[in-house]
C-alpha cells in the first residue's frame, strides 16, 4: 500500500493562505487570553501548580450532584467544584488566601465529613502548592521552554545553518502560540503535565520540521540542486517526505487517541494537548517552516545585496522567486 505516492502539491504557493489561517487561529487564541484576564483574572486557567492553592479530589460511593457538594462547602461562597469524569467524582479547587498550607484542605475535608456520611466518600487525591513554589514553577516553565528553543537553535545551526534553525524555531513558536490559544479558548487547566506536553510538542514539531529540512539540504547538495528554483526545490522536498510525514503523524495520533479514549480522566488534558500539538506540528512543518525558510533566505539575500552586492558563496538557497 502506498499513500501520497508521487505526490506533487504546490505547498509553497499556499503559504499565504496558511499564514492567514494560522494568524486567525493565533488571533482567536490571544483574544481569548485577553478575555480570560477579565473573566478569570489570568491569561490561562492556571492550576494549583502555578497559582498556588489546594486541589481536592473526592470520590463518592454513589452519584452526587455538584449542587449538593456546593451547599456542603458553604453555598455561594464555596470554591469552584468540577465533575471529574465519572458521576461520583469531583474536584474542588481553592486558593490559600494567605492561610497556612493545611487550613483550606482540612476545612474542606471537615465540611464534607459534616455533610456526607464518613463511609460514603473518600478523598483520592490532594495537592497543595504554596505561593512561593507556584511562582517558582512559572519561572522555571518559561525558562525551560526558552532554553529548549535556544539549544535546538544552536544544534540546528551547527548541523544545518542558522537560517534553518531560525525557520524551525519560528514554526515551533507558531505551534506553541496555537496550543496556548487552544488552552485559553477551552480554559484547560495549566498544570505541570501541561507544560511537559508543550515541551513535547516542541520536540515533536522540530522532529517533523527537521525531516523536511534534511530533505531540502540533501536536494540542495545533489547535482543541479543549487541552480533549481528554490520554490520548486522546497515543494519537491516536502512532497518526497509527505508519505513519511503522514504515516508517522498517523501512528502517533493513533496511540494518542487510544490514550485519550481509554487512558482515564487524570491524563485527558495532557493527551488532548499532545494530540493538538502533533496535528499543528505536522501542519507547521509543511506550511510554516518551509515558507519561513524561503522568506528568511530572501531577506538575508536582499540585505547582503544592499551591503554592496558581495557575492555569497555558501548560501544554500539562492532565491530568485518570491513566495
Amino acid at each position: 500500500m502506498r499513500l501520497f505516492d508521487k505526490a506533487d502539491y504546490s505547498f509553497i504557493q499556499k503559504a499565504r493562505g496558511a499564514a492567514f489561517f494560522s494568524g486567525t487561529l493565533i488571533l482567536i487564541g490571544v483574544s481569548s487570553m485577553v478575555l480570560n484576564v477579565q473573566s478569570i483574572g489570568s491569561w490561562q486557567n492556571y492550576g494549583v501548580d502555578f497559582s498556588g492553592g489546594s486541589l481536592i479530589q473526592v470520590r463518592f460511593e454513589t452519584a452526587v450532584s455538584a449542587t449538593e457538594i456546593r451547599s456542603a462547602l458553604g453555598g455561594a461562597e464555596a470554591p469552584p467544584i468540577t465533575r471529574f469524569g465519572e458521576e461520583n467524582e469531583f474536584v474542588v479547587r481553592a486558593g490559600l488566601g494567605g492561610e497556612e498550607m493545611d487550613v483550606v484542605r482540612q476545612r474542606i475535608e471537615q465540611q464534607l465529613a459534616a455533610a456526607f456520611q464518613e463511609s460514603s466518600f473518600s478523598i483520592v487525591r490532594t495537592e497543595t502548592v504554596g505561593p512561593k513554589i507556584g511562582a517558582e514553577l512559572q519561572t522555571k516553565a518559561g525558562l525551560a521552554i526558552l532554553f529548549s528553543f535556544i539549544l535546538t537553535l544552536i544544534y540546528i545551526a551547527i548541523r544545518f545553518q542558522f537560517r534553518f534553525g531560525l525557520a524551525a524555531v519560528i514554526a515551533t513558536v507558531h505551534d506553541i502560540m496555537i496550543t496556548l490559544g487552544f488552552l485559553a479558548v477551552l480554559r484547560i487547566e495549566i498544570a505541570l503535565p501541561t507544560v511537559a506536553a508543550i515541551l513535547t510538542i516542541v520536540g515533536y514539531s522540530l522532529n517533523d520540521t527537521i525531516v523536511v529540512f534534511d530533505r531540502i539540504r540533501e536536494n540542495l547538495n545533489s547535482r543541479g540542486g543549487r541552480r533549481q528554483d528554490p520554490v520548486e526545490l522546497i515543494n519537491q522536498s516536502i512532497n518526497e517526505t509527505l508519505p513519511r510525514t503522514i504515516l508517522t503523524s498517523g501512528t502517533t495520533l493513533v496511540v494518542l487517541l487510544a490514550l485519550l479514549v481509554v487512558g482515564g480522566v487524570v491524563i485527558k488534558d495532557f493527551t488532548s494537548v499532545l494530540i493538538l500539538g502533533v496535528i499543528v506540528g505536522t501542519y507547521s512543518s509543511i506550511f510554516i517552516a518551509s515558507p519561513a525558510l524561503l522568506r528568511i533566505q530572501k531577506y538575508f539575500d536582499r540585505k547582503e545585496k544592499l551591503k554592496g552586492g558581495k557575492k555569497r558563496s555558501s548560501g544554500p538557497v539562492s532565491v530568485s522567486a518570491g513566495v
Binding site: 500500500m1 479530589q57 470520590r59 498550607m101 493545611d102 478523598i123 483520592v124 487525591r125 490532594t126 495537592e127 497543595t128 502548592v129 512561593k132 513554589i133 522555571k140 516553565a141 525558562l143 525551560a144 532554553f147 529548549s148 539549544l151 535546538t152 544544534y155 540546528i156 505541570l192 503535565p193 507544560v195 511537559a196 515541551l199 513535547t200 516542541v202 515533536y204 522540530l206 522532529n207 527537521i210 525531516v211 534534511d214 530533505r215 540533501e218 518526497e240 513519511r244 504515516l247 508517522t248 501512528t251 502517533t252 495520533l253 493513533v254 496511540v255 494518542l256 487510544a258 490514550l259 479514549v261 481509554v262 487512558g263 482515564g264 487524570v266 491524563i267 495532557f270 493527551t271 499532545l274
Partner: protein, 536 residues
Amino acid sequence: MFKSLRGRLVTILIMVGISAGYLVNNSIKLGLDLQGGMHLVLEVDDPQGEMSTEERSDAIDRAERILRTRIDEFGVEEPLIQKIGSDRIIVELPGIDDQDRAKSLIQQSAFLEFKLVVPTNGLETALSRIDRQIVLAVGVDSLGRMGSGNFEAPQNELESLIFGAQTADTLGSEDANIEEEQEESVNLRPFTALLASGDLEGTYLVALEDVETASYFLGLPEVQLALPRDLSLHWEQEIIGVGAGNYRRLYTTERDAFLTGEMLENALAQRDPQFNQAQVSFELSRAGGRRFSNFTAQHVGDFIAIVLDNEVVSAPSVRDRIGASGVIDMGGAQLEEAADLALVLRAGALPAQLRIMEERTVGPSLGQDSIDQGSMAGIIGMVAVVAVMLTYYRVAGALAVLGLLFYSVLVLGGLAAFNATLTLPGIAGLILSIGMAVDANVLIFERIREELRLGRVTRTAVDEGFENAFSAIVDANVTTLITSLILFQFGTGPVKGFAVTLSIGIVASFVSALYVTRTLFLIHLSRRKSTEPISI
C-alpha cells in the same frame, strides 16, 4: 559495530539479556501517582531571614538525616528523602494513607526541654510594662478594631480574676500619652485582661478563644523584651474545661532548661498500668541521668514542665529524687500518639522548623485505575501501530514490528537500569514513544522504496535506504532528546518520569531501528538473491 550477521545477532541478544537482567533484578519503581502516597517539599522556616545560606544548608543536611531515621522507624517502604538545592528537602512516602499523622511525624521539631515551673509572681511585676508595650506596638486604634470579643476579660465564673475586667478608664491615667489616644471601648490592659489565675501553681488560665490573641501579643518583639529575663512562658498542649468554658494553661517557667532531649538515650510508648493512659517512658544518658537526679533532689515538691516544641506536654510534681529514667504523661492521648512521640524523641530534634511548601497525596485506588487505564491504552496503541505497519509495509513491516518488540524490552530494561520511576505521564511518554519509534523505520522504508523506484537492485536499495535516512533520524532524535533533557531538568515527580521515559524511548528507538531492524533485514536478504524483489 559488527559486520558479520552472527556478531550482530550476538550483540542484540546481549542487549536483550542485559535488559531482561535489569528488569528481573531491579524491577520498575512506580511513581506516587501510580501506587499512591504522599509527596512533600519542605524548606527551613526562617521568615525573618536570620540564618545564613550555610546555616540553612547545614540545617537541611541534619534535618535530612533525622527525617531519614524517623521515616525508617515509622516503617515506610522505599521512601525518598532528598535534599534539593541548598535549603529544601523532598520527602516521598509511598502507600501512606494517614496524611496528617505522617506530616506531624515529619514536621515536628521534637525539641524536648525540662524546665522548672516558677510562681507567677515573677511575671506579675512585668505585666503593666507588657501591656504598655502592646498598646504602643499595636496602637489603640488597631486594638479597638481587633474586635472586642478577643479583648474581653475571661468570664467571671473563676474565683479570682487578676486585674479582672478593669476598664480602660480606671487604668489609663498611668500614662498621659496613651490617655490622649484612648477610646472608651479599648482596654488598655490588653494582655493582662486575658489572664485568669491558674488552678495550679505557676500557671494562668486563658480562655480558648483568646489563646490566639495572647500568643500574638507574646510573639511581639517589644513584648519579648519586656518579659523578665529569667522567665519564659509556655502554653500547655491540652485544653481543659473549667465550668462552662474551655481554657488553656499558660505556664511560667525558668527561662533555661536544666535538661534537653539531647541527653535522651531511648524513648518508648507504653500504657500507664494504673490508669491505662498512654505515656512515653524515657531513659537518659549517664550524664543526663546525673543532672536529672541532682536537680530533682533539690526540687522535691516543685513542678517540672516537660516542654516539647515550646508547649508543655505535662508538668508533674517531683515527689522524690528521680534517676536516669522518667515518664511523660500524655493525658487522654491515643497510644498511637505516644508511639509517634517516642519515635521522634528517639530520632532526635530537628535543627530548625521545617515549613511545607508543597504537598501532594494520591490514594491507592486512583493510582491503580491509572495503571489499568494506561496499560489498556498502551496495548491498544501497540496493536494499532502493528496493524498499520503490517498493512503498509508487509514483510518489511513485520521486521519493523520485531524491532518494536526489541524496543519495548530495551525501554523497560532501561527504565530498570536507570532506577527510573514510572509515572502516569511516564506511561503516556512510553505510549507516545511507541508512535514515534516507528518513525525511524518509516523514514528508512520510504527511502528504500524510493531507491527501488529508481531501479536499484534490492540489496543496494536497502543499504542506500538505511544510509540516506541516517542523517534525518539522527537530527530528529537529537532535537527531541534536547527538549526531553530540559524537561528532566525542569520537572519534579511525574514530569521527570515523563522526561526519563521519553529520553530512554528515543535512544531505544534509535538503536532498534538502525541496528536491530537492519540486522533483521540482513538476515531476511541473506536468504535470497540480491536481485529478488522484497515485500515493502
